[in-house]
Amino acid sequence: MTEIFGVPTQALFGQLLIGLINGSFYALLSLGLAVIFGLLNIINFTHGAQYMMGAFVAYLLGSKLGLGYWWSLLLVPPIVGATGMLIERLMLSKLYKLDHLYGLLLTFGLALIIQGLFRNEFGTSGLPFSMPAELSGGRNLGFMFLPNYRGWVIVASLVICLGTWFVIEKTKLGSYLRAATENPALVQAFGINVPRMITLTYGFGVALAALAGVMAAPIYQVSPQMGADLIIVVFAVVVIGGMGSILGSILTGFGLGIVEGLTKVFYPEASNTVIFVIMAIVLAAKPAGLFGTQK
């Protein structure tokens, strides 16, 4: 009973756990991208840099002000989200009438600038970030050992993702957002300040990225490059799930994390490419993505 398909269960569950952890970050990041794309029609290439900023601001709050992990979790999303709103007001808002491509180029350029600035200031080597004492250690689940912090990341991101989904799909506030995604001019003519809603939505998407950054800090090291590496995979996740689909981005994020983990067990050579292979297949079969609808 300690092997499944010739693989030791310990290794299998270990990789599944890693897959779920990665999937948690894929889901949080692709959710933010989906929310932003839905309303702003902009593919936010700065997302990875904003995730990195989340980790760094948490690091700085800790090293300069002595604020711990929980404070960071609370403070970092609004701080980084506010920088996002500034970017939206000063730059992105000038591009809405132009082709997608301009938003993509601008946010890509911003990502390079932000990463460059952090590299200049902090170098390329990773900075350590200790996990909160409350979540150190782990527990034996019988079939595997689960480090508490990792369990927390999975549960927290699930709760945040489903909470976001609930707000968007089931509440009045969400109905404004869905309606403005379809026909912003009419929603504004009904008396709603759509430009302000767009700013707040971008801020929220960025705040989600920053929150993911804080949660990632104790697991991966804090480094200027951390977002750039991750975001490429996240874009593949978004393409597979379907640009702009909320539930799609969540399910695809977790699902692909697990698929990646399982690939590491059964065919390790493909573990770095499996997501891109899936992307190619999905694009060929269903260009709008698994959960997307053609715009």
Binding site: S175, Y176, R178, A179, L186, A189, F190, G191, N193
Partner: protein, 237 residues
């Protein structure tokens, strides 16, 4: 804001553009409190553009639009909505990602005194049975009722209706006609774009005729019969 004003809505020398195309070339008309007024005209005359300009939905517009005496030409559409104007657009604008109830409740209240939900269901009983359906799954007629119903809740007292009878079966057209008459009786002011002047004649007090981005004539409903020849010429029917 409450200084004396002659008409509820007063449009003078309105010009409007989509990008580089100059569409409205000095539109003049007015709507008095409690009136139902139509804009008639051929396809492309600029009726929809006029309605959207009044609502602030056309970006580049010049001239003067006064509502209750306040100049609104420079305001954004969400500010204009706050004055108590609401639009029912030509393409109806039902949101497919919202169900019927969400569509109905979407426009926020801008003033006290809107119709209650019960009253709206009384006017449009079909809606009540379909509350949980996807908005765009309704029939064309039901979508039109939803598009009108949702702006009655908000307290807006001036309604801008763009071809509410377009493409609908005669019984539905009649139902909408009766509804407009009831709304007028309740004190709503209505600016109605219509191609179907037979329908317009049953509900309106006055008619403005548009041609090539201008208002070229005004016909009181009482003189409509006498003006038929002229009207046929204007509308090319």
């Amino acid at each position: 804001m409450a200084e004396a004003f002659k008409s509820l809505l007063e449009v003078k020398d309105l010009n409007a553009w989509y990008g580089e195309s100059h569409i409205l070339h000095g539109v003049d008309f007015e709507v008095n409190d409690g009136e139902v007024v139509t804009l008639l005209g051929r396809n492309g005359a600029g009726k929809t553009t006029t309605l959207k300009s009044v609502m602030g939905m056309v970006e580049r517009r010049e001239g003067s639009i006064r509502f209750k005496g306040s100049e609104t030409t420079k305001l954004t559409s969400n500010r204009i909505a706050g004055f108590g104007l609401a639009i029912c657009p030509e393409e109806r604008g039902i949101f497919s990602s919202l169900n019927v109830e969400e569509n109905l409740l979407l426009p926020p209240e801008v003033a006290p005194g809107g119709l209650s939900l019960e009253r709206i269901y009384e006017l449009f009983p079909n809606l009540k049975e379909r509350l949980k359906s996807q908005g765009t799954k309704l029939s064309g007629g039901e979508q039109q009722m939803l598009a009108i119903g949702r702006i009655l809740r908000t307290g807006a007292k001036m309604l801008l209706l763009d071809e509410p009878t377009e493409g609908l079966a005669p019984v539905i057209v009649q139902q909408i006609g009766r509804t407009l008459t009831k709304l007028k009786a309740e004190g709503f002011t209505i600016l109605l774009v219509e191609q179907n002047f037979r329908f317009a004649a049953t509900v309106a007090d006055r008619h403005y005729v548009m041609e090539n981005g201008r208002v070229v004539d005004m016909i009181p409903n009482t003189q409509l019969e006498a003006s038929m020849g002229k009207l046929h010429e204007y509308l090319g029917v």
